[in-house]
Symmetry: C2
Subunit: 223 residues, 2 copies
């Protein structure tokens, strides 16, 4: 099993390589092929009930990045220097009701569920939305955002596996960013909301402090 | 760049290999080394402000799995057959206040931030908690859960990269599962809440339907 052993080591190296890169090398751009690969890992990520409640807006226009800067405190270094800057959107609750056009599209046209499977799936979902999301709009949107974090994590790891840096960003004024994206015609009200941002590129210099984490025995419990 | 090209193909193959595996081969167990590797990818996952608000409870005790079964509708096939069954916990809001013992431990003892950096980091966080999480306990817990989904996604992808199957599970009665874990002394009230479950093992048979997703042009917008 030497093959698996070296593969595991290589993957863990990518986890150590990844850090929240605040400033990127402005002269280095990610190739189209590599960025397509990163997007593919987002696209192929799993999501609850297979609803894929996400959209990836790649913001390359310097003027639009400039508009986002004053309301995105956590992206001051990343917005001007990232090779690719992504705003991840999450489906709003209206799109996620069990009888919404979007949900019906997902189970019928995307997942091609046979009628019986579909009825079972949607019945299960309806019950989940009622009991676990309390049929509450805000909780349903939060649940939608959770799913986008699976894609977020996967994209950053995939990038690191091919030597590309990234930075996840939550530090921005969600209302103002939403309003800017609405004015640009990127978001329709009630369709999507802003989940988070993630910048990709190549580091200018190595991080000052090395990566630290809690030990495994602090975060794992065996029963 | 043949090396990178084949690495990308190999990674994307893992995304295609992964599916929500409902029933595992009861006779095949994941080796300690492989499961340790999967946990490591969870441990090394990024989280907002570096707070790592997670715990991974690996439930191997058959009697405890049996107790969870009646209140975990989405885990009927996985609980009895998974090689390793994990309940992911997320830190509750009390642990995530900017002046909580846990947050202070994270910035001081885990991330070894110099005093000045720490003050800046916590000031930024305090403001984030106020403006974006509205100093609302439920939203803070939801935000904590989001972070655990980064680790969830990474662990499933890492498993798939070494040929191990998995299934993420949200379909369970959160109140009842929490209560069972409290009775077992696994969760202290106000410390952790249940985020989700994830089962690992080896598939018994291939999935009936092949993986489908929205196309890239439906979920990506360039600006």
């Amino acid at each position: 099993m030497i093959g698996t052993e070296s593969k595991k080591q290589e993957i863990l190296k990518a986890y150590q390589f990844r850090h929240a890169c605040k400033v990127f090398d402005n002269n280095k751009k990610i190739s189209d092929e590599d960025f397509h690969f990163i997007l593919e890992t987002g696209r192929l990520s799993p999501s609850s009930f297979g609803f894929e409640p996400w959209k990836f807006v790649v913001i390359q226009d310097a003027a639009l990045r400039e508009k986002l800067k004053p309301v995105s405190l956590g992206a001051q270094g990343q917005l001007p220097t990232a090779s690719h800057f992504v705003v991840i959107l999450a489906k709003r609750e209206e799109n996620l009701k069990h009888d919404s056009d979007y949900v019906i599209k997902m189970v019928k046209d995307i997942h091609h569920m046979p009628e019986e499977v579909m009825q079972h799936h949607l019945g299960f979902y309806k019950n989940f939305a009622k009991t676990e999301l309390e049929d509450n709009d805000r909780l349903m949107f939060e649940w939608s955002i959770r799913q986008t974090y699976i894609a977020l994590g996967n994209m950053m790891t995939a990038a690191a596996q091919i030597g590309i840096d990234s930075c996840p960003i939550e530090g921005f004024d969600k209302k103002q960013v939403t309003s800017i994206l609405q004015n640009e015609g990127i978001i329709n009200a009630n369709d999507f909301g802003v989940s988070c941002m993630v910048a990709f590129g190549y580091r200018e210099k190595d991080p000052k402090r090395s990566q630290t984490r809690q030990n495994l025995d602090e975060i794992v419990e065996w029963r």
